[in-house]
């Protein structure tokens, strides 16, 4: 089936089976390897991408469902080789350890800051509650989002 959508502000046209997982299409067909597979059942958030402005799980999305949609991955946040302020804040706050969960957390943070540029700690926790990190203990992730919000607002 012919499926058309937009990924990281570029149009994509694919001829593929529509019941493949969006995760596999992004990784295997489009080479967007920031999108990670951690659990395959929507419980870890490592495969989080933005679909039409909302954070969703690409492991539970059928590629046919994104027909005509707009997708953003961590690769799409990098502009002219420069990290996005959220990505930079993750480095500076020490929110990155093993790095496997990081792109998913970055996308959940991005979705939050798009809707709420001044989130309080509860809002941050709420927005990141669908992503599991086993390394950091989460404190530095909260600090990173706070720093990114501050940088955005300056």
């Amino acid at each position: 089936m012919r499926i058309e959508f937009e990924v990281n502000n570029r149009p994509v046209v694919l001829d593929t089976e529509p019941d493949r997982r969006l995760l596999d299409v992004l990784r295997d067909d489009l080479g967007l390897l920031s999108v990670k597979e951690g659990c395959s059942e929507g419980e870890c958030g490592a495969c989080t991408v933005i679909l039409n402005g909302r954070a969703v799980l690409s492991c539970l999305t059928m590629v046919g469902q994104v027909q005509g949609g707009r997708i953003l991955t961590s690769e799409g946040l990098v502009k002219d080789g420069e990290l996005h302020p959220i990505q930079k804040a993750f480095v500076e706050a020490g929110a990155v350890q093993c790095g496997f969960c990081t792109p998913g957390f970055v996308m959940s943070s991005y979705a939050l800051l798009q809707r709420n540029p001044n989130p309080d700690e509860d809002a941050i926790k709420q927005a990141l509650s669908g992503n599991i990190c086993r390394c950091t203990g989460y404190a530095q992730l909260i600090e990173a989002v706070q720093a990114a919000a501050k940088a955005n607002n300056e």
Partner: protein, 281 residues
């Protein structure tokens, strides 16, 4: 390879349903786990493009919620928050932000999990389902639809079009649950309560038309019928609250599973019912 249909209109959808017997894909959150383990039906019908089934409106004292409305939309909708707070609360507690951005109310109903968070509020609020098929429409009370865990009486040629929730001024409703952790959790026990609150001359409240629905403590959602009988029209004193909580506990038929134990679930029904009654405004 499975056939794949993506109807744009309801007419198209019911025809495909009648002719091709497809497996329906709403949010995909439950279906895709099966796909990963190799499941392929004869045909899929992706409901994502059915815009007509998405959204919430108020018509003739009824909230009409399209089956493809997302949990995130229900949780934040002012109409739902005003007329069916229990439902908004439950929707806000489903899974995770990402799951709430994908999962739909229709999918939650069709999946028929005994732990589905939206189901107890729908029972307590006397919701009805508007089922659509090629041969017409039928409206069924939600409590007549579930026949067992993961089983419903919705016919293979039917799809859930809308969920109709009575919207009456002065109806109080709330939802309380205990999960396995503070996010990304499945309910061990969920209790929804809906009632009209009467407070003659500022005195002790009385509840009328009180409905208490229990989730995760039986093969389907069940009403705490003896508790509801006890409550009806009587002054909501501390003593009555205790009696009702104990009665509700006996209306539950929980089991031991990997999430919790029968004994704990039973005890928690009483605690949650009591806490909900103590919150009545």
């Amino acid at each position: 390879m499975s056939e794949y249909f993506r109807p744009l209109t309801l007419g198209e959808a019911v025809n495909i349903l009648a002719d091709k017997h497809p497996k329906l894909v709403a949010g995909g959150t439950d279906m895709m786990v099966m796909v990963k383990s190799g499941y392929r039906p004869q045909a899929w019908m992706d409901l994502t493009a059915l815009e007509v089934l998405r959204g919430i409106s108020l018509a003739r004292n009824e909230l009409v919620i399209g089956a493809m409305t997302l949990h995130a939309e229900i949780a934040q909708d002012p109409l739902v928050q005003e007329y069916a707070r229990a439902l908004a609360d439950a929707a806000a507690k489903v899974g995770s932000p990402q799951i709430r951005n994908m999962g739909t109310i229709g999918g939650n109903i069709a999946n028929a999990s005994p732990a589905g968070d939206l189901l107890p509020p729908l029972y307590a609020l006397n919701a009805r389902l508007d089922l659509v098929s090629k041969s017409g429409r039928r409206i069924v009370p939600v409590n007549e639809v579930f026949t067992g865990p993961k089983r419903t009486s919705i016919r293979a040629d039917e799809l859930i079009g809308w969920i109709r929730v009575p919207a009456r001024d002065g109806l109080w409703s709330d939802y309380a649950r205990l999960g396995t952790r503070n996010a990304l959790s499945i309910s061990k026990v969920g209790v929804a309560l809906a009632a009209r609150v009467e407070r003659a001359g500022g005195g002790v409240a009385r509840l009328r038309d009180c409905m208490i629905a229990l989730g995760s403590v039986a093969p389907t959602v069940v009403y705490a019928e003896s508790a509801m009988d006890l409550l009806e029209g009587r002054q909501l004193t501390g003593e009555l609250v205790q009696q009702v909580a104990l009665a509700a506990q006996n209306d539950a038929r929980p089991i031991d599973d990997i999430r919790s134990t029968a004994a704990y679930r039973r005890a928690m029904v009483a605690v949650l019912v009591r806490r909900l009654l103590e919150r009545v405004e």
